[in-house]
């Protein structure tokens, strides 16, 4: 089963990396934005928060649209051929999830390293905590991606929904623009947006050395949401042709 799972992951990588637009969207564009953010004033944590905002936004976009690629596979028939093969559903999904998570982890690592090494971001502590928060965030967004893939029929629909969710969650989630006296709606978006929880948790770790014990709330929220959405998405995709 492991061999089949890894083969699915490998084929996914080969397909992804053969598409130059994917590489531009996943790596070049967030790097460009990370560089642009380095011109922001370096006071009151504005620059650091913007960098982390770029990270959580692009990781979310990447994961949601990658999960939508399952629908592209449905359209090209490879999903049906996989489901008709002698490969268990859990191996198929493990292969997809491994690919999504690895790409997101590499993307996040690259953005953090480029921020630190190229643009002088002051990340000097809490690497273990950082890894935990990123892993839980990636899990939550993968769950949301699979949920959308189960909900919609085409990758275009998933991309539209993903863009909306990510932009609203990032722009109105108290990440790029600190909110003074936010409305009830904005407060609600901030309270439910995994991007907002992740960006603030990462900031607390990297700038203030927050320990995991103080991050239970964001971890529980992102983990619980991810588990719920992942389960719903997996069940839906299993029964849909």
């Amino acid at each position: 089963m492991m061999k089949k799972c890894l083969a699915i992951t490998a084929v996914g990588f080969q397909q992804m990396f053969a598409d130059p637009m994917y590489l531009i969207f996943t790596l070049a564009l967030p790097l460009l934005l990370t560089w642009a953010m380095s011109f922001l004033p370096r006071e009151a944590g504005v620059y650091e928060m913007a960098l982390l905002g770029v990270l959580v936004m692009f990781v979310a976009l990447n994961l949601l649209t990658s999960a939508g690629s399952i629908l592209e596979e449905k359209q090209q028939g490879t999903w049906q051929r996989l489901r008709s093969s002698a490969t268990p559903y859990r191996a198929i999904m493990a292969g997809y999830l491994l690919r999504f998570s690895l790409v997101a982890a590499v993307q996040a690592l690259l953005l953090l390293l480029s921020g630190k090494l190229l643009f002088g971001a002051p990340w000097n502590q809490g690497y273990g905590e950082l890894a935990v928060v990123l892993a839980v965030y990636i899990f939550a967004m993968t769950g949301l991606g699979l949920f959308l893939a189960g909900l919609f029929k085409t990758q275009g629909q998933v991309q539209a929904a993903a863009t909306g969710i990510v932009l609203v969650g990032s722009m109105l989630g108290d990440i790029f623009f600190p909110m003074e006296n936010p409305s009830t709606a904005i407060k609600f978006i901030t309270a439910i947006s995994p991007q907002s929880w992740a960006a603030h948790a990462l900031k607390d770790i990297l700038l203030q050395g927050a320990a995991l014990a103080s991050l239970v709330k964001p971890l529980l929220w992102m983990g619980g949401l991810g588990l719920l959405l992942l389960t719903a998405g997996l069940l839906r995709l299993k029964t849909e042709m």
């Binding site: 084929v11 090209q76 490969t87 042709m241």
Partner: protein, 311 residues
């Protein structure tokens, strides 16, 4: 017996897509599955392929119940979907290696199986080329290779020749015959009546979720009692001649359509000389004669009220 389908049922909301299908298929048998759109063919094939759960009934492949032992049953199954289900950015060989792995082929047997499958569909020379650069016919042949790679006992081929050039079509026909000789049981759907008649030992016609006819082509045509249609085009057809043509022994019915008389008969060879002689004796010039033998197309039209090619 390689495939046994019993009382298969499936509904989508209020619509009953498959209503109690039974099906038996032996090794080396090719079954033509025909039906208009919405007949339940795709749903039936999706259930046999393990993509949809039936609401009632059972599917057994090679003795394995598909619901209770899906992996064992699916290991005996090959699928050739209507549209090529391949990864376009990978080479043909990489695609086949991937699908072979998914079917459980071990590394030691994988390379040999890939080479054999490529040879069967005539793509050995193009094995390293990316699929995105293949022609439509080549993609369909590779699609077949991906379905037969693991030497399945049962192969489902869903309209494998749609939109392919004559050369690729012939190649696909030859492949089907070779697989049949090797003992593979095949379910073959097509809108081309000629290839169903050529390839399929038995035919099953579905409509509204049910089997409306089943048997060999000869049995189906005999049971339907179809008459041949004799079409004689003349320069000046008229009603007086038509009534005399109707009186020729062996003619069941005669009609005038445009410049032609159409005679329905079970004995076209006997009726034709008599009709021809009579028309000449009336001073008419015969410009064309056609005999339309009964075929699956006309039977399908009769049973379903729809044309096979209009699907």
């Amino acid at each position: 017996m390689i495939l046994e389908v019993k009382q298969l049922e499936k509904s989508f909301g209020a619509r009953r897509a498959v209503a109690g299908i039974n099906l038996l298929l032996n090794e080396g048998e090719v079954l033509g599955l025909l039906g208009p759109n919405g007949a339940g063919k795709t749903t039936t094939l999706a259930m046999i392929g393990g993509l949809l759960q039936p609401e009632a009934g059972s599917i057994t492949i090679g003795g394995w119940d598909l619901q209770r032992h899906p992996l064992q049953a699916k290991a005996l199954l090959g699928i050739v979907p209507q549209e090529p289900a391949l990864y376009p950015q990978l080479s043909a060989a990489a695609n086949l290696r991937f699908w072979g792995t998914m079917q459980g082929l071990q590394r030691s047997e994988l390379n040999k199986a890939v080479a054999e499958a490529l040879a069967v569909v005539g793509l050995t020379e193009r094995a390293r080329e990316r699929v995105v650069n293949y022609s439509g016919g080549m993609k369909r042949r590779l699609n077949i290779a991906a379905g037969i790679l693991h030497r399945p006992k049962l192969l489902i081929m869903d309209e494998p020749t749609v939109g392919v050039d004559p050369q690729s079509r012939n190649h696909i026909h030859e492949t089907v015959k070779r697989l049949q000789c090797a003992g593979t049981a095949i379910i073959y759907t097509s809108h081309y009546v000629e290839e169903v008649e050529e390839l399929c030992g038995r035919v099953l016609i579905m409509d509204a979720g049910k089997v409306v006819a089943a048997g060999t082509v000869a049995e189906l045509l005999r049971a339907a009692g179809h008459a041949q249609e004799l079409v004689i085009k003349v320069n000046r057809p008229h009603q007086a001649v038509l009534s005399r043509l109707t009186a020729i022994p062996g003619v069941r019915e005669a009609v005038m359509v445009g410049q032609a008389f159409k005679l329905l008969t079970l004995k076209a060879e006997q009726v034709l000389p008599l009709a021809y002689e009579y028309l000449l004796s009336q001073g008419l010039q015969v410009s064309a004669i056609e005999i339309h033998k009964p075929n699956l197309e006309s039977l399908f039209l009769k049973l379903t009220g729809k044309s096979l090619r209009d699907q």
